[in-house]
Amino acid sequence: MRIVIAEDDPLLREGLALLLRAEGLDVVAKTERPEPFLEAVDEHKPDVAIVDVRMPPTHTDEGIRAAVEARRRRPDLAVLVLSAYVEQAFATELLSAGASGLGYLLKERVGRVEQFLEALHRVADGGTAVDPEVVAQLLTRTRPDAGLDRLSAREQEVLAIMAEGLGNGAIAERLFVTEGAVHKHIRSIFQKLDLNPSDSVDRRVTAVLRYLEDSRRRS
């Protein structure tokens, strides 16, 4: 897997590269500003880009804009955005054009190396990775009568993990249940929330996030 890193903090950039290389992954370029990052994407044709949200010059959302631009140039590029804190607007901006091959994680998740690598691979394979914190914020801020209260406690749990971008198998693993049970829960969730069921993880995640986002906006 060929990876380009865009991160302005030197310590974190090197740490990330060290970790990925130790796992046998191919870090082809490390950049610290948006423009060199885009050049590196053009030049090295990586499979995945790992991008920090805050980058020079203004340290606001340069990383998000660079990620969106990189995706515009190379639609098949997988992008994993790392952020120091959860900013709902950034996540929404990033995922608004479809969540396939996209991830938005808090920086500290990188330390949980197994989960981070799993998310990285998922994104590289065209899947989605949404930080549990983002999902949790959407869930808690959603209006109580948005339909969520019709879900059972277990179904809410499944919904949250699904929104992170995990597939049925992974959800089953995390909840210690069979895949068949997860499948049943998901069918029930989609029914109660009037969502279009689908097998593709990306479409499921998008549907769930849209639903949460919409019900939040209406409230």
């Binding site: 903090d9 310590l11 974190l12 740490g15 990330l16 060290l18 970790l19 130790a22 796992e23 805050r54 340290h59 120091a84 804190y85 920086k107 500290e108 990188v110 330390g111 949980r112 190396v113 981070f116």
Partner: protein, 408 residues
């Protein structure tokens, strides 16, 4: 003694400059006074009533010039709102006060200004008399203030001595003259008490808004330095620890190396947290007071700094912190930009005001608009309802004066 003379000479030159400036506004005042008298005369025939508003406007404009002039030295004279430019102006208090000033300044101020510029000319005339008295016709060579003519060398030197005496007199009474000339303006041109209160409310509202702005900017700065500093360091620690945990089974030697790096990152995080905490309120200020804290700054400064702090009663923490930051930033500026070989810091408490003066012997030419951080200091000081004055002529010296109210 020579330092005293130099100081005295400087204040005399300042005084002469003020007297000449005062003569300028006095000439304007004379012309305006004539116009006012003409207007009054025309009012007897009725037509003058038509030009009363325009006349009031002229009087206010001229008064504003004097306000601006005397505000440049000594206490600032705030401009009251203009009187109504209509016939109602004849009952307006501000207009009455401005008229009172106009009459005084056009007569008394004009006379003082004339004296102020005549005396130095006399010094030059009399002082140089021995150089040229023999070359001019007999009755031309005479002292400026005297009724005899010079016909021989002793007489010429006597007149030169008179010139010297005249110079001494200027040095003694010059500053007083300038003060006397500006006095009617200082007494009559500020807003009267009721108007002053309204202005004060408006000013306080503005500075309160500035305080909130400065506060928000300060919070943003702290948030930014926490996110970009300590937090990033801690994230790096978790990343490195994660990598070390993975490496432990495969290659213990590498794992130890990575843990070392993680420890370094954690120490960096601690150092940055300390910096942020110190930026909020320097602990040294709480421990050692303003004097001790400033001594500490002086010791670590790039140029030799003499510190003279005499503050008997301590001020509120936020005031002391502001004074501390202003001195710290100014000393940094001096070390970085001024090329000075020494600097001095003086801090005094005068009633309810904390005064700080920072001077260096550098090349001067500091410009607030050139983004030297002075604008930021000014915002911070004005947020405390204080005042910052920067004097930095090209060639130096540069003096920064700060007044911070520290009463409750």
């Amino acid at each position: 003694m020579s330092a005293f003379l130099a100081r005295r000479a400087r204040s005399t030159l300042d005084a002469l400059e003020h007297l000449v400036g005062g003569l300028g506004t006095a000439i304007l005042a004379v012309a305006t006074l004539l116009w006012v008298l003409l207007t009054a005369a025309l009012c007897v025939f009725g037509v003058g009533l038509l030009i009363v508003p325009a006349t009031a406007r002229i009087v206010h404009t001229v008064a504003d010039r004097e306000r601006g002039r005397i505000s440049r030295w000594g206490e600032e004279v705030i401009s009251p709102p203009p009187p109504p430019y209509s016939l109602r102006v004849v009952t307006d208090r501000t207009f009455h006060r401005e008229l009172g000033w106009l009459v005084t300044h056009a007569t008394f101020g004009f006379f003082v200004g004339l004296v102020g510029i005549t005396l130095p000319l006399d010094v030059v005339h009399d002082g140089t008399l021995p150089l040229w008295w023999w070359a001019v016709p007999e009755f031309v060579a005479a002292p400026s203030l005297g009724w005899w003519t010079v016909t021989d060398w002793p007489g010429a030197f006597f007149v030169a001595f008179l010139g010297l005496m005249c110079a001494v007199v200027i040095m003694i009474i010059g500053p007083g003259l300038a003060w006397v000339q500006a006095w009617p303006g200082r007494a009559l041109l500020p807003p009267s008490a009721d108007v002053d209160l309204n202005l004060r409310v408006a000013e306080l509202t503005a500075t309160r808004a500035a305080a909130l702005d400065a506060h928000a900017a300060e919070l943003r700065r702290i948030e930014r330095s926490l996110h970009d500093g300590a937090q990033n360091r801690l994230v790096a620690v978790t990343v490195l620890l994660g990598a070390a945990r993975r490496a432990l089974g495969r290659d213990p030697a590498t794992a130890v190396e990575i843990i070392d790096r993680a420890q370094d990152a954690a120490e960096l995080a601690l150092a940055e947290l300390r910096t942020v905490a110190r930026g909020i309120l320097p602990p040294v200020l709480a421990d050692r007071g303003l004097a001790g804290a400033l001594e500490g700054l002086a010791v670590s400064s790039g140029v030799p700094v003499s510190v003279d702090v005499d503050v008997a009663v301590r001020c509120p923490a936020s005031t002391e912190a502001t004074a501390y930051f202003v001195v710290a930033e100014t000393l940094t500026n001096i070390a970085k930009h001024s090329g000075a070989t020494s600097a001095s810091v003086m801090v005094r408490r005068d009633g309810d005001t904390l005064l700080a003066r920072i001077t260096d012997d550098g090349k001067g030419g500091a410009d607030e608009k050139a983004g030297s951080g002075i604008a930021g200091m000014r915002r911070r000081i004005e947020a405390h309802d204080g005042r910052l004055t920067l004097t930095s002529p090209p060639g130096g010296p540069t003096t920064l004066e700060v007044e911070l109210p520290c009463g409750s």
